[in-house]
Homo-oligomer: 396 residues x 2
Amino acid sequence: MRTRSFLACVVAAALAALPAAAETPRGLIRGTGDLGIVIERANGGVVVVDTTTQTRLYAVDQLGDLSHASAVFSRDGRHAYVFGRDGGLSKVDLLRGEVAKRVVQAGNSIGGAISQDGRIVAVANYDPGGVRLFDADTLAPVSEIAARDAGGNRSKVVGLVDAPDDKLVFALYDAGEIWVADIADPARPTVVRHRGVGQLPYDGILSPNGRHYVAGLFGEDGVALLDLWQPGAGVRRILDGYGRGQEPLPVYKMPHLEGWASSGELGFIPAVGRHEVLVVSLTAWTELGRIPLLGQPVFAVARPDGRQVWVNFAHPHNDAVQVIDVPTRSIVATLRPGRAVLHVEFTPRGEQAWLSVRDADRVDVYDTRRLQRIAEISARKPSGIFFTARAGRIGY
Amino acid sequence: MRTRSFLACVVAAALAALPAAAETPRGLIRGTGDLGIVIERANGGVVVVDTTTQTRLYAVDQLGDLSHASAVFSRDGRHAYVFGRDGGLSKVDLLRGEVAKRVVQAGNSIGGAISQDGRIVAVANYDPGGVRLFDADTLAPVSEIAARDAGGNRSKVVGLVDAPDDKLVFALYDAGEIWVADIADPARPTVVRHRGVGQLPYDGILSPNGRHYVAGLFGEDGVALLDLWQPGAGVRRILDGYGRGQEPLPVYKMPHLEGWASSGELGFIPAVGRHEVLVVSLTAWTELGRIPLLGQPVFAVARPDGRQVWVNFAHPHNDAVQVIDVPTRSIVATLRPGRAVLHVEFTPRGEQAWLSVRDADRVDVYDTRRLQRIAEISARKPSGIFFTARAGRIGY
């Protein structure tokens, strides 16, 4: 009994000491280009991190339900906008380490985007289905795009991204449509609808240069492609055989389309339900080949220079990360960080890869040249990792 | 006499009032992702600017000879490293608006780079020829790469860039060589030399993904290309006919290679001495066509999404900027900001283009969608414009 309570005390003391020991003064004058956040999924908070020192700075809590949470950044890199599953939209001040604003804007939401000029934050909602626009400064509501199908029914919205020339692009899950909204006047958005793009688009991604929008289809094989430089040409179907119809294995987890890597002319796309990544031409939009993997991939993320692609996996292989060498299209390393590697984020110039290892309550930092772990950071059930360099990228 | 002294007083008061009226408090807690600097060429200083409010914040002076100056940024975006022509290396604190450190490290220099990990600032020197490495924090000297040819003579160094996996790449003007230095141990750099790449390489650029290094050759037609993914394949000659040998017009100004735009598969390269921009395949490295322009181009810069390319010109056409629409490869606008448009810099997501209009003592900010001027900022003889988003890019 004594031993047990002694152990319990040691554990409790260790847990209590952990954040305090790592605490950093808040509100310092410092640059924001090397900051980021790690979502603490179970805890409903984020940890603010520094990629130069590879350390945690401080925790910011009380952000609601952060299962499946994502984030975008203000154009100055000071604030993160965190999208919770419960419809919560939180504006986190990375320098002061506090919640600057918070609204619960819908009953159920699935990510968001920030407009090209940084003035508007948009949220993709399931309930009620549509996109709501907020002032990025105050989080005051600005307008709503109700995502109604031809019959007038609201649809869940997925795959919401910003695009050049004041655009937002998103897919209507229930309606099978892709919409391009012009929010130059955010109080009165105008929309171009692309109907009949395929059944049950479940996610969407923009190519790094902002030209091509691709939506995965849960309801059928193939993927829907829209060329934003030629919107009049409409949506076309590519990669027949990519979707869910043909897989011989049960699908443990739909791959996130945000994880599609691109490396020059080549895209590396997690196959659905298969132990493979597809190599795709990003000009012809055809499959060029497949690379065998040790499990079902979830994210395939290219190092910013495109020389490597890092892949994580669905259960039961989610303790591993495989690294693909792009020139040879071969696996050059199989890392075993620990149970439930949920996310991979590179520093903007690619020298570090950060991996969240959920079940170890840890984020690992790897040197991407040597493929060695160089630092570890404590975080409670970490999931998504987002660095401020995203503020300067298109399509997040 | 009274009138004259009254006028003189008014002018003096106006000049004195200009910086004071525009002055912003220094040392505020704020993000750095939307900051940048404008080189004040005649004045030996920089103006710190904010791209969100499109305003100048404050001037930082006493940086020496800033003719042909350039800059890179610390990985946190707080500091600019400004490379002067006189060998001066200045570390400017953008938040406090002051010179944090300054060294005069050589007699004559031509730009520099910051290592992938942000720890080392490197300067390309003419006199004595070579590359010197400095601690990015303290500016203390770390090591030197003496750029000696096969006969042991030092060469001027040009086209210095950072590259992935701890590399620096640069060209030896006098020796006709391209060197790739590994600075993982910055005190003891190791070098791979590529000899006989062509006569008088005068500048070099890295492709946006950090894979291809291209050096312009002043001494002959054509351009030298090194694929850093296949260094064993050596340097090859491309674009015969690009160089100086065939131009029927006098060359008023050699185009800056930093200005080569790339847009997906296509590169847009200022022709030397001709009123044209070359359209080049960035996979086959062959010329695909030419677009006629109103004068000799200096910079051709792609909007970050690659949809537009903006071109400025040598004297006597340096009052103009032409905008190329990439899908149609046609000129869609000819802007006339004023005499001596020296530089074009886009905000990282491309909604704004900033142009320095030297003889008007003004920087103009354009909305790139509408091709309209939306703001102007006073600056004394502005030349280069550099935004902190460069901190997250490869090859600057």
